[in-house]
């Protein structure tokens, strides 16, 4: 049973970096173990395809815009929700892929090896200016996500 935790976002686009902030916190808080791999996915959604391989549990963390909820709201979404309308456009584009597209792509390629357990945490944000600072409200939301993931891992990974 191997778990992959993937953080998405751009650390130089203000609050867009929340996914990266969360995995950095987890790197400090989680013990080094063969069973958990933490990935800084940055803005390369396509790499999901290669990160998923060999893991049975996947946790994705990302920012979300235009959610109609206040900035800092945390969403926990099962991946199949996100993939309800999978982007089946065969014209993929390396420079503009989203990880939901990458997941649907991966499903087609990995078939039986595609992990069943995929959990997505999203944090509502607004500010994606070219800056390197997180806002307090978004950082606090990130800390909540860290707690949730730690609890989730405690429950699902036998000691």
């Amino acid at each position: 049973m191997k778990t992959a935790i993937m953080g998405f976002g751009n650390p130089v686009r203000s609050d867009d970096a929340i996914g990266i902030y969360v995995i950095e916190q987890l790197r400090e808080k989680l013990p080094e173990t063969e069973r958990i791999n933490i990935f800084d996915m940055g803005t390369a959604a396509f790499e999901v395809l290669f990160g998923l391989k060999g893991h049975s549990k996947i946790i994705l963390v990302d920012a979300v815009l235009n959610s109609n909820e206040p900035v800092g709201t945390v969403f926990k979404v099962p991946a199949e929700e996100v993939m309800k309308a999978p982007q089946d456009d065969p014209l993929v584009f390396l420079h503009g892929m989203k990880w939901d597209q990458a997941l649907s792509y991966t499903k087609k390629i990995l078939r039986d090896e595609y992990p069943e357990d995929i959990q997505v945490y999203l944090v509502a944000i607004e500010n994606t200016k070219l800056e390197v600072d997180l806002s307090d409200v978004v950082r606090k939301a990130g800390d909540k996500v860290v707690q949730h993931i730690l609890e989730d891992l405690n429950q699902s990974i036998p000691k």
Binding site: L65, F75, P90, W99
Partner: protein, 530 residues
């Protein structure tokens, strides 16, 4: 805390958007404009900050070629500070750059380019069935093999760089890693898997060594017909189908090429200077004007903004003299006046000329008879340019042609690492100007830096896509993609797939939307995303 559940779509992160607007008259493109639709102001983040900010910020400009930005950012500081670089440092940087570029070849070919050849436009061609069988998205016989193999080279990058994408392991003075024999052995194994899974059996149908014997276009055609295995390989099929589908007949471009070159030789750049860079390159730099080769001089690079949304600079400034990018008022595509400002991209020029950057520019430089013994000497594309000229076909062939050579380089460089040697020499920080460049998968990439009072005063990034998608310059001369689209024959104005194929052959790093209009009435005929 309550955790809400709802159906939501994640953030789409694009390196930017490109709108291509073409006017079609009597089945031909008569006007073409490229509009970069997003302001990219990464340089602004760095102003007033620590000189090494570029090492952290610029690899985040792009989720595809962050390693290339890192190569430039560290090199720019090397020249500004006058650092010392050990052979190991130069080898490990070259291995990183080469791994990133190698990854991009199968990934781009299968996921981006080859699927276009399965377009119904070519349904009446004899080889169409075979193309669809092999290269259709997801289900093609070799599509998945190629795509899966593309994940391997960056595993090598991650061994030395800690992660891919967005590593910061290259620093002024060397690299922040000290690989062990285990890492090098592992890298060799990953490389061998790439060769055995895809490069030799699927792509070439022969050994790398046999393929690298090809020196002329006639050799290449003879290679295709030499045996069934080569004829039926994916490269064999690309050459046969490319010619059968007429990809050699359109998308010429400006016919002038620029390469900043890359892979600094382990023994020739230990004291980095801007002046010494050309000589230290393994993949040579240069400017080819269609007839003659010229030595690359970064001082001949300038940017024009007559047609770009920047108001605070004149045309033709060298990057060191340009201000940090400050956006002017922009318009939507619909409201853009193409006689005035119409793009967020500036228009880079070399010695006043628009020039194409990319793999084709690189392989043309490889054919430069003046290349030195430590530089790549490969006459093939000198011959192909003479016999076929530039085109969609030539551009695609150039990109895939690089894979075997890069493979051999990584193999060689891995074996040259001295595990007991130095990897990093701490530099002395000082004020000054620096220039660093490389060849990203998509072409010439360069960073210019000016450090004053211990912080960044000016930082300028010029990316290959800027060279290719840039708008008209101060003299209203169009950029490479704009030029390449002019005169393109469009079979079906409601599905101008040819426009897409031209744009994709340049592999711009912006998500591209094509808007086709009737030249007479101005009515939009079709719109599609690439």
């Amino acid at each position: 805390m309550s955790v809400k559940e709802l159906n939501i779509s994640p953030v789409g992160r694009v390196e930017g958007d490109l709108d291509v607007k073409v006017y079609i008259d009597n089945g031909k493109v008569t006007r073409a404009h490229t509009q970069a639709a997003m302001f990219r102001g990464f340089e602004k983040i760095m102003a007033g900050k620590d000189p090494q900010s570029g090492l952290i910020v610029t690899p985040r400009i792009c989720g595809i070629c962050g390693g290339s930005h890192l190569y430039c950012a560290s090199s720019a500081l090397d020249t500004a500070w006058g650092t010392k670089l050990s052979p190991n440092a130069l080898l490990l940087r070259a291995i990183g750059q080469a791994s990133e570029t190698l990854q991009s070849i199968p990934r781009w070919y299968y996921a981006i380019f080859a699927t276009d050849l399965a377009n119904k436009k070519y349904a009446d061609k004899p080889l169409y069935k075979e193309v669809v069988k092999r290269w259709s998205a997801y289900v093609g016989e070799t599509f998945q093999i190629g795509l899966t193999a593309s994940g391997l080279p960056v595993q090598i990058y991650a061994l030395f760089g800690g992660q891919w994408p967005h590593s910061s392991y290259m620093v002024p003075g060397g690299v922040m890693c000290a690989p062990t024999l285990k890492d090098v052995t592992r890298a060799h194994a990953i490389l061998a898997q790439f060769k055995n899974d895809w490069l030799e059996p699927v792509w070439l149908g022969c050994s790398i060594e046999r393929y690298m014997e090809i020196k002329t276009w006639d050799d290449m055609l003879a290679w295709v017909d030499e045996n069934e295995s080569q004829r039926n390989s994916d490269l064999g099929l690309l050459i046969r189908a490319g010619l059968e589908f007429g990809l050699d007949k359109f998308g010429q471009g400006v016919g002038k090429f620029l390469a900043t070159g890359t892979y600094l030789h382990k023994d020739l750049y230990n004291n980095p200077t801007i002046e010494g860079r050309n000589n230290a390159l393994i993949q040579s730099s240069g400017f080819f004007d269609g007839e003659n080769y010229h030595e690359f001089d970064h001082m001949k690079v300038s940017e024009h903004v007559k047609h770009s949304w920047y108001n605070d600079q004149e045309d033709g400034l060298h990057p060191w003299d340009e201000p940090l990018p400050t956006p002017a008022e922009s318009q939507t595509l619909h409201d853009s006046d193409f006689d005035s400002q119409y793009s967020w991209s500036k228009a880079p020029r070399y010695d006043g000329h628009a020039a194409e950057a990319g793999p084709l520019a690189r392989v043309i430089m490889n054919a430069n008879p003046n290349n030195k013994d430590h530089q790549i000497k490969d006459p093939l594309f000198g011959d192909i340019i003479k016999k076929l000229g530039p085109s969609v076909f030539t551009r695609v062939l150039a990109r895939v042609h690089e894979a075997p050579r890069i493979y051999k380089f990584i193999e060689q460089w891995l074996s040259e690492i001295d595990l007991d040697g130095e990897f990093y020499t701490k530099p002395v920080e000082k004020d000054g100007k620096g220039f660093g460049a490389t060849e990203a998968a998509r072409g010439a990439l360069a960073h210019w830096i000016e450090i004053k009072d211990g912080v960044i005063k000016n930082y300028q990034v010029m990316a290959p896509t800027t060279w290719n998608v840039g708008p008209q310059d101060g003299n209203d001369n169009p950029g490479p993609i704009e030029t390449a689209l002019l005169g393109t024959k469009i079979e079906d104005p409601l599905d101008p797939v040819e426009v897409g194929i031209v744009a994709r052959s340049f592999d711009s790093c912006l998500v591209c939307t094509v808007h086709a209009h009737d030249a007479q009435s101005g009515v939009e005929l079709s719109r599609f995303k690439l």
